[in-house]
């Protein structure tokens, strides 16, 4: 690896920028920078423009708080989508569920999970906004899709308590075994939750 001082200033500057990325150390940062140096100018330009375009154009949807270029986002303006609202913790969770292709409703991104230890109470999340949407959109169902850890569970329980009085059905994603998995390798907690949530074969 080149030592500081032997590298041209602009190249070192790029290495330093890459090294700020998560999971990227100084060696990988140098490799990425040297790779870009070896590519034609238009490729570097496309990368630079993609980065700036992303920063300038991507924002949070003012309705569901998913990431979007247009506000409100395509998911919110699509008239064919059903009225159900799937509540997730983070914007990236929207894409996880969209990738399944089997959900046709709308979303609501909370912006985190309730955790008083970390100073995050219900007031720090977009729960009031969810309440307002329920009043306006009258969804037929609220599907809570928070992670099955203790913060996710507490958030789900909290939501069900504050939403239930509004007269809308509240459901929770099922716990279960991964498809293609092996019973032997499942941990006891997942397995016993799967037993509790077993379904009839028909």
């Amino acid at each position: 690896m080149p030592s500081p001082g032997t590298i041209a200033g602009p190249l070192q500057a790029l290495i330093d920028e890459f090294a700020k990325f998560p999971t990227i150390g100084p060696k990988t940062a140098a490799r990425l920078a040297f790779y870009l140096l070896s590519r034609p100018r238009h490729e570097a330009q496309a990368l630079a423009e993609a980065i700036l375009g992303m920063k300038d154009k991507v924002r949070f949807c003012s309705v569901c708080f998913a990431l979007t270029q247009d506000d409100p986002c395509d998911l919110c303006t699509d008239e064919r989508r059903e009225s159900a609202i799937c509540v997730v913790a983070e914007a990236k969770d929207v894409y996880a569920i969209e990738r399944t292709g089997s959900y046709k409703g709308r979303y609501h991104v909370l912006g985190g999970l309730i955790s008083p230890i970390d100073g995050i109470g219900p007031g720090q999340l977009r729960i009031r906004e969810l309440n307002d949407r329920i009043g306006v959109e009258h969804p037929n169902e609220i599907i809570i899709a928070t992670n099955p850890n203790s913060e996710g569970e507490a958030t789900a329980l909290y939501l069900s308590r504050v939403i239930a009085p509004l007269g809308v059905a509240v459901t929770r994603l099922a716990y279960g075994l991964p498809i293609g998995g092996d019973l032997d390798y499942a941990d006891e907690i997942t397995l016993s939750k799967s037993l509790e949530g077993r379904t009839a074969l028909s």
Partner: protein
């Protein structure tokens, strides 16, 4: 159950160690600060995933190293499984990973591969110490034998930490959120309380028998579980309801004092001798005999419940006891499958089937089996 191999790399004062313990009694002899207790600590980590000493996990990594690793081969009946624990420095903290049969597993799945009963000089104060120390004793024993207990206890503690933070931060905390945590506390708490109750009942029976055999004076040792919240029937629903109703009763005071006030995190285990609390009335000798009986009972109950004798780890404790009590203790657990003892000098009388190891500056040398 027994450990057939113990391998350390960069753990405490050991750079590399590969040891083959024997069935029966393994005695580590050496001067102070040579690494005897570190061996027992490493074995305990394979059992309970953490040290029996106080202090940080980082302290277990050898000075100047980034990562310490403990591996072992646990044999239970016909089964044989490789288990391991790595402690890796990670900035100012450490990260622990567990393996079982070559795969990374979570702590909950690691627990129970090797069950251990540890006995260290600090345990001699169990009867007179704080309720927190007695709860830690119950938790360590129960988590090893009961995966559901460990799971419920983790849920309980996670909810309790969040509730504490919520009460502390805000003089006017969200009622609905408190209700969410209280619900988890009551549900998980009920599992914790019932497991503790039945474990202490079993402990009390065995401890009374062992104690009666030793004390000779007809004194009766009684152990009693003292739950913070009383309940009417030993069923999950009854205990859950009792916890939930108590949490409602104290809710106002909790908000005023900004801390959680009721639940199994305030339980205790009480020992009485002929009806008098040992912590206030017992002589030091009586208190020690009671702890010995409690430890023997822990061993016997864990053995009977799992059908497998746990490993006994006796760190520096036999030398703390007079010879009569030491003999009584070893007699009480007479049929152990494998035990580990540290001592500064060769004990005068060793049972047959003992292996002697000399520990000197992180080198361990086998002295050959001795017969008595």
């Amino acid at each position: 159950m027994r450990l057939e191999r113990l391998a350390l790399s960069n753990v405490r004062n050991y750079a590399l160690l590969d040891l083959e313990p024997q069935s029966g009694l393994n005695v580590f002899i050496g001067a102070n600060a040579q690494g005897k207790s570190n061996l027992l600590e490493a074995i305990a980590v394979l059992g309970i995933g953490k040290s029996f000493r106080s202090g940080r996990d980082a302290d277990m990594i050898r000075d100047g190293c980034e990562r310490g690793m403990i591996r072992g081969e646990a044999v239970r009946g016909e089964g044989r499984v490789q288990i391991g624990c790595s402690i890796v420095k990670n900035g100012n903290s450490t990260r622990k990973t567990f393996t079982r049969a070559g795969r990374n597993v979570r702590y909950a799945q690691f627990l129970g591969a090797l069950t251990v009963v540890t006995f260290v000089p600090a345990d001699l104060q169990l009867v007179t110490g704080t309720p927190g120390e007695r709860r830690a004793f119950l938790n360590t024993a129960l988590a090893q034998q009961d995966a559901e207990y460990y799971r419920a206890l983790s849920h309980y503690q996670a909810a309790l930490r969040q509730k504490s933070a919520l009460l502390r931060a805000d003089g006017n905390p969200d009622e609905e959120l408190l209700a969410v945590y209280d619900r988890t506390l009551a549900e998980s708490g009920a599992i914790v309380v019932l497991a503790r109750q039945s474990f202490v009942e079993a402990l009390a029976r065995e401890a009374a028998i062992a104690h009666e055999r030793w004390s000779g004076r007809g004194e009766r040792l009684e152990l009693r579980y003292a739950p913070n919240v009383a309940f009417e029937a030993a069923t999950q629903e009854a205990v859950r309801a009792a916890l939930a109703s108590r949490l409602r009763e104290v809710a106002r005071t909790e908000r005023l004092r900004r801390m959680p006030l009721a639940g199994p995190h305030r339980d205790d285990l009480l020992a009485t001798l002929d009806g008098r609390p040992l912590s206030n009335f017992g002589s030091q000798g009586q208190q020690r005999t009671a702890v010995l009986a409690l430890k023997v009972a822990e061993y016997l109950v864990m053995r009977d419940r799992s059908g497998e004798a746990p490993l006994l780890l006796l760190d520096d404790v036999l030398s703390e006891l007079d010879e009569q009590r030491a003999t009584a203790f070893l007699g009480g657990v007479g049929d152990y499958e494998q035990a580990y003892v540290t001592a500064t000098q060769r004990p005068p009388r060793l049972p047959a089937q003992s292996a002697l190891f000399i520990v000197d500056a992180a080198q361990v040398r086998r002295e050959g089996s001795v017969a008595c």
